[in-house]
Amino acid sequence: MSIKIKNLFKSFGEKEVLKDINVEFEVGKSNMIIGGSGSGKTVLMKCIVGLMEPTSGKIMYDDMDFVSMKGKDKRNLRVNLGMLFQYSALFDSMSVADNVAFPLRMFSTKSPKEIKKRVDFCLDRVNLPDAALLLPDEISGGMKKRVGIARAIALNPKYLFCDEPNSGLDPITAAVIDELIKEITEEFKTTTVINTHDMKSVMDFGDNIIFLKDGVVQWKGTNDELRVSDDEVLNGFVNASQFLDKDHK
């Protein structure tokens, strides 16, 4: 259930945004993609989940190349992907419960009763048991993120993607979201890929870290390796983030 990226390139016209990306995201781990603004994090994640076509290269899900997959095979694989978007991307015409039930109604063979049970479980799992009937407009940013997580795990996905999961949240809510993603990764053994520039999240629960700079993998390693790395560019990024963090405190 790992994801392997092989020789991935992505260009927009003349501009090369991703250059020869070779990484592996491990099962049951929190795999973090970090880097400054414009480093190519979002483009990389969009390529991995199929929202963008890479210019060349392979994206292997369990040794199946997602890029060359077509039609039904691609749709079948996508059912195994759960994604939490930066701004949650909840369907604003649907209630919280309907948002979580949506993938179940579209892709499962569950009865309405079973769907309700699963929705209740997912909302309970993200500590929102009483929000089922509310509309996305009626809940806070942190609650929207949690509903986004509940929707992402509704179909028991093998792969969970989180794009800037705690951006725009206060530190306490951000910590709650981080903790929730960590728990879900361990509980459901998902291959979790998190796109972030929040170094606190990276230090707290990032298992494997990939540092992108100007569309190139500048550094990759584990959390422990990150702490003792002598890569100057990486340390510059990490220390700048921590310095700003301390400064704010």
Binding site: R75, L77, V79, M83, D92, R105, F107
Partner: protein
């Protein structure tokens, strides 16, 4: 390409049918008010204009009924109402889909494996194609009612003469032609607006621009297809 995806096999037919009903209501039924107002006034004004132009003791007042009936069924009800609805429904569709695009809701559907074009656009096109003809028939009736009422109230033409004139020129083919135009206009409005909204790139300003473009392109295409259909189906 968008249309082939829109009419691809749905993942879950029941969900699509539910969406079709919702869209038919929100695009069609909720437009009944504006269609009624436009139609009543349109009929009343044509009656007054026709009476103003045909003042002669040699011309029977029932001609007013004929002119109002023919022009309403053949041209005014389908075309004017469609132009009005290109503004209301077209901007609604483009804004809704554009907002979904910029807030990543469409991306969320795509990541899940839902055919987002089919799920979002098919119900809008089909819902509007089903409801616009009904609205246009109501518009024809209300337009004639407006003309009848004003003619009667102002003494320009008696009710009996108006009805006699309207009945004397009614041909089934005229009505069929109006319905062919209506289906064409419904398809133009819903598909052009869907395209403009679905493929928005940018932020809220671009959503506004896409709504404007959808209205302008729909109106121009309605007028071009109106002329083309008249040329093809009335004179050949």
């Amino acid at each position: 390409m968008m249309l082939s995806s829109a009419f691809a096999r749905p993942e879950r037919t029941r969900v699509y049918v539910r969406r079709l009903i919702d869209e038919a209501y929100s695009l069609g039924v909720s437009s009944l008010g504006i269609v009624a107002v436009v139609s009543l006034f349109m009929g009343a004004v044509i009656t007054l204009n026709t009476a103003y132009q045909l003042v002669s003791p040699l011309i029977s007042p029932s001609v007013i009924g004929s002119v109002v009936s023919d022009s309403t069924i053949l041209e005014l009800a389908p075309t004017i109402c469609s132009l009005v609805l290109a503004g209301k429904v077209g901007s609604n569709i483009a804004t809704e889909l554009g907002s979904m695009r910029v807030s990543e809701q469409i991306d969320a559907l795509d990541v899940m494996g839902v055919n987002s074009i089919g799920f979002l656009i098919w119900p809008k096109i089909m819902g509007f194609i089903i409801t616009l003809p009904v609205l246009i028939v109501i518009s024809m009736f209300l337009s004639l009612l407006g003309g009848y009422t004003i003619g009667n109230a102002t003494g320009i033409v008696s009710g009996a003469a108006f009805i006699e004139g309207a009945q004397s020129v009614f041909r089934t083919y005229t009505f069929v032609f109006a319905m062919i135009k209506t289906f064409t206009f419904a398809f133009i409005i819903s598909s052009v607006s869907s395209y403009q909204g679905y493929y928005v790139d940018g932020g809220s300003i671009d959503v506004g621009k896409s709504a404007t473009r959808s209205v302008v392109f729909s109106c121009v295409l309605i007028l071009i297809s109106d002329y083309t259909l008249a040329q093809l189906l009335l004179l050949n």
